[in-house]
């Protein structure tokens, strides 16, 4: 009995410290990072390096940017937020939910047209492209929901600039996040889809048919910021680490794109 209590003691202490959490300086507490789901592979690797270097554990929660932003707005205990677009960061900034001047652009991405592997040849996206012929009779184009999901907003902007939006709108499959669009193409449920280059990179059953010119849509930037309520001493360090040369290498190896600001020396 006694040994059982001895064994359980650390667990009980851990539970007690969790319950008593708010406020304390807490070097032992993990850094809580909320991040867009599309960053999962990259941030897992960056966080592992951060833990190794600093000794601080990182608890990562992935989800849709919109959902995470609403949770943060409503007091979720996050220290750092990495968003998939600027709109939701603006939303939080306007509500004073971010620590002043802590916001940084972390990495970029490109928009690509994808098809199931072996199903289509490479092409160039130009204003004259006959999309309906490309899709074929009954074929649909999978994109993330253009009203809500960042990848869908960028896709809509590009298609509008190409003058193809009106023709394509009734032929769209709108998905609740960009990875579902990727899945629909990978499973060949639809002949084409528009996703991020990094998404395509993660799915071998798809191939990139064309890359949309960066001038066709607003610049794709993943911003990170420290949450205003964060008391964690390492919050700022983690945002710094996200901009380090090591982190950039990880991002690039996973299909993300550099930002123009990367030409300046990386903070280490």
């Amino acid at each position: 009995m006694r040994s059982l209590i001895n064994r359980l003691a650390p667990l009980l202490a851990a539970i007690a410290s969790c319950l008593a959490m708010p406020g304390g300086a807490g070097a032992q507490e993990p850094l809580r990072v909320f991040a867009a789901a599309s960053l999962k592979n990259a941030l897992d690797a960056v966080a592992a390096g951060f833990t190794q270097a600093s000794g601080t554990q990182v608890a990562l929660s992935y989800g849709a940017t919109s959902t995470l932003a609403r949770q943060i707005e409503n007091g979720a205990p996050a220290d750092v937020f990495v968003s998939a677009d600027e709109d939701w960061m603006d939303y939080l900034e306007q509500r004073q939910a971010l620590k002043a001047a802590s916001r940084r652009g972390i990495v970029g991405n490109a928009l690509v047209l994808i098809a199931p592997t072996g199903a289509a040849a490479r092409l160039t996206v130009t204003p004259g492209l006959d999309w309906l012929a490309l899709l074929g009779p009954g074929g649909r184009l999978a994109i993330a929901d253009p009203r809500a999901v960042p990848a869908g907003k960028y896709a809509r902007a590009a298609l509008e600039k190409l003058g193809a939006w009106a023709a394509l709108e009734p032929r769209l499959v709108r998905t609740e996040n960009v990875r579902v669009a990727l899945q629909f193409v990978a499973r060949a449920e639809v002949p084409f889809g528009i996703v991020y280059a990094s998404d395509q990179h993660a799915e071998q059953r798809t191939l990139t048919v064309a890359t949309f010119d960066a001038g066709l849509h607003p610049r794709i930037v993943y911003p990170a910021a420290v949450i205003a309520t964060s008391r964690h001493a390492k919050s700022g360090d983690f945002v710094e680490t996200l901009q380090s040369g090591k982190a950039r290498d990880i991002f690039l190896s996973l299909g993300f794109q550099p930002l123009p600001s990367w030409n300046k020396a990386a903070p280490e």
Partner: protein, 235 residues
């Protein structure tokens, strides 16, 4: 929140009418199967019965996303059943409103069957036997004795199936995505609005509509039940 009291827009009406169509079709199309399965589960005893029972209840246990993904693999354009149905009968579920109805029907099926089965269980078998002594065959017996006696349970099954169909989200969005006018039902539209900065007002309006429909469905079932309790029979 100024937009709360405006009349519903055309886009919102589309969503509401589509939701009603999907839920009605899902409920009515699965009703005959629901009655048959409930009858088998209630009256028949054979070796593999537990398997049918378990299969029927599977959508209740599995995460809806899994059910939706299974539907995509089975009934998608590249799915085994999806391809067979398309080539033999021209029926396509993928990214159509019929796919949303299929997803809703599958998710609501366990609830529908449960309600109907309970009322079959409660019927005094001697009433059926009595009608047999008066010369009624099995099918006629089922139609004129069993079914009318089970009516309250069947009605309950319809209501709960309809309600579940109306609220189905996970399986639908996984199987047929969210296409306005085709597969974007009330829950999908409400979810999409909560994902847009400033979309709360529209989300709230649509939620109110869902609440009104739910109350109307419950009220209708109460009226029907009272009507039949007073001794009226239904056609």
């Amino acid at each position: 929140m100024t937009g709360l009291l405006q009349p519903l827009s055309e886009g919102e009406w589309t969503i509401i009418l589509l939701s009603l169509k999907v839920a009605l079709v899902a409920t009515l199309a699965s009703l005959p199967f629901g009655i048959a399965v409930a009858y088998v589960l209630s009256r028949k005893r054979f070796a593999g019965l537990w398997l049918i029972d378990a299969l029927v209840h599977l959508p209740l246990v599995l995460p809806p996303v899994v059910t939706g993904y299974a539907l995509l693999m089975l009934f998608g354009r590249k799915g085994a059943l999806g391809q067979a149905l398309e080539s033999c009968c021209g029926v396509v579920f993928a990214f159509r409103w019929s796919g949303a109805a299929l997803a809703a029907a599958v998710m609501a099926f366990p609830l529908l069957v449960r309600a109907i089965r309970l009322s079959f269980d409660a019927i005094d078998v001697r009433l059926e036997e009595a009608s047999a002594t008066l010369g009624a065959g099995p099918f006629w017996r089922f139609l004129t004795v069993t079914l009318p006696l089970a009516w309250p349970g069947i009605l309950g099954g319809i209501i709960i199936g309809f309600a579940k169909s109306l609220g189905e989200f996970g399986a639908t969005i996984t199987f047929v995505a969210s296409i306005p006018g085709e597969t974007e039902t009330l829950p999908l539209a409400i979810y999409a609005q909560t994902q847009i900065p400033g979309g709360e007002a529209v989300a709230f309006r649509l939620t109110m509509v869902a609440v009104v429909i739910a109350f109307a469905a419950i009220a209708a079932s109460q009226l029907l039940r009272d009507y039949t309790k007073r001794g009226h029979s239904l056609p």
